[in-house]
């Protein structure tokens, strides 16, 4: 889907019609993102209830919080949520004028990429590393500390 012009909403050389189309297409990116977040959260809730969690929030307590990957996914989604909310302002053809070319953009990008995505890189690295080196990573506490600091 062509969305690249959401970087150039303030550029006078780009036609307003193209800007509008790219703005609308950028908004559509929210749909697959929400579907992904919803399905993963629903899977996690099912797992939590299978572990005996009850009530509207009781299942959260039963999740495997000592597992660093669980922690990483949670942090990733929290940061993705905030980053996505900020992204709605970048995406909007009108609201973008307020924050165009400011530190907001830096903040948004680093929250999404440096936060939501890189924290999953960490989790994947912890998962994959033992298969590459043949040596188990046993210090789960240090991994959790690292992920807390990263989030």
């Amino acid at each position: 889907m062509p969305i690249g012009m959401h970087h150039t909403f303030a550029d006078p050389q780009v036609g307003a019609g193209f800007k509008f189309i790219h703005s609308a297409f950028t908004a559509l990116v929210a749909i697959p993102t929400l579907l992904t977040v919803f399905t993963i959260c629903a899977s996690v809730e099912i797992a939590g209830r299978l572990r005996g969690g009850k009530g509207p929030f009781g299942w959260i307590a039963t999740l495997p919080w000592d597992n660093p990957i669980m922690l990483a996914v949670t942090f990733s989604f929290i940061m993705l949520g905030f980053g996505g909310a900020g992204g709605l302002i970048n995406m909007s053809y009108q609201l973008d004028a307020t924050i165009h070319n400011t530190q907001w953009i830096t903040g948004h990008f680093h929250l999404i990429f440096g936060g939501a995505i890189v924290i999953m890189y960490f989790a994947i690295a912890y998962d994959l590393w033992p298969h590459l080196t043949g040596r188990q990573l046993t210090n789960l506490r240090l991994m959790r500390t690292q992920l807390w600091l990263s989030a």
Binding site: I78, M79, F82, G86, T98, I99, N101, T102, Q103, W104, I105, T106, G107, H108, H110, L111, G114, G115, V118, I119, F122, A125, Y126, L128, W129, P130, H131, T133, G134, R135, Q136, L137, T138, N139, L142, M143, T145, Q146, L147, L149, S150, A151
Partner: protein, 315 residues
């Protein structure tokens, strides 16, 4: 990362441009941004610690003994892998075109004719739906020749189908098929050969007019099994009951409740082996081929269980 980026958003709203090499926070107008930027810097240091810890975790792992970690779980197939049959490009192209609804030239080869006779009976919803009393009377006379197998009151004691209360359309269709040769049977084929079209309508109307097995016997029967109530959707088997009674009836298909076990089983096996092929559009052959022997037994037991009391009391 939250500590770093949230203040960035804030100073962005306050108007701080991107990519600033130098910013004079002693300026009164820029002073409110100083605290936010400082928090960002603290966040950045936290991230540096986090990055160092990441390498610490990995390096610490190097002290552990080397062992086989097993296959990587995301590389293991969740479902058993399927080898697709080799697909010809032309066939694939045809499939894509037909899926996309693109009209293609009709094939020039003539359609394949089967090496057996197919049923030529036109089954319609209105077929034999109005019973004519004269026809029923004539049918009663004609039915004397059927009684030796199908029973004087339509309840067979010879493992032939019970015809009492059977749908007229179902009986008529089978008689037509016996006559045309679409279905063949050493006993029924000669009987049907002599019948006129009106004779068949009369016999069918007569048996349809006779009462079925009493309804209360249905209560004594076993609970309907899965194959009767649900079929097997993954193997494209609809529920038996959706055409043959107990859920619904579709025109042309016989009412099966109370039919002899040996008869139902023989017919299912004949359909499965293509020995009987007068079913419309291969419906029953496609179903019977995919039924397991156990499902056949269960369905037969369920439908035939209703006939036992009737046979012992000697209708």
């Amino acid at each position: 990362m939250i500590v770093t980026t949230f203040p960035w958003h804030w100073v962005g709203i306050l108007g701080m441009p991107r990519r600033m090499a130098y910013y004079d926070y002693s300026n009164a107008a820029l002073e409110p941004m100083a605290l936010s930027v400082s928090i960002s810097v603290v966040g950045a240091f936290i991230l540096v610690i986090s990055a160092i810890l990441f390498f610490v975790v990995l390096l610490e792992g190097q002290r552990a003994p080397r062992e086989n970690a097993g296959p990587y779980r995301f590389a293991v197939a969740v479902h058993p892998p399927i080898r697709l049959p080799e697909v010809k490009a032309a066939g694939l192209w045809d499939a894509i075109c037909s899926a996309a609804g693109i009209a293609r030239k009709a094939t020039s080869t003539s359609p394949v004719t089967p090496d057996f006779k197919i049923s030529s009976v036109v089954v319609t919803p209105q077929m034999l739906s109005i019973a004519d009393t004269q026809s029923i009377g004539r049918g009663a006379t004609l039915a004397h020749q059927c009684a030796i197998c199908h029973g004087p009151a339509g309840f067979s004691r010879a493992d032939a189908p019970n015809l009492s209360g059977q749908f007229a359309g179902a009986i008529y269709k089978q008689l037509k098929d016996f006559q045309s040769g679409a279905r063949s049977n050493a006993i029924m084929t000669p009987f049907a050969a002599k019948l006129t079209d009106q004779d068949m309508i009369d016999v069918a109307s007569y048996y349809a007019y006779l009462p079925r097995l009493p309804e209360d016997r249905a209560g004594q029967a076993d609970a309907a099994p899965r194959i009767v109530l649900n079929g097997a959707p993954l193997r494209n088997i609809p529920p038996c009951g959706s055409c043959h009674g107990s859920i619904d009836h579709k025109i042309g298909s016989p009412w099966l409740q109370g039919q002899p076990a040996a008869y139902i089983k023989a017919q299912l096996q004949a359909f499965a082996r293509d020995e009987r092929n007068n079913d419309i559009s291969q419906q029953m052959r496609n179903i019977a081929r995919h039924m397991t022997p156990h499902e056949i037994d269960v369905a037969v037991r369920y439908y035939s269980s209703l006939s036992q009391p009737a046979r012992s009391t000697g209708h």
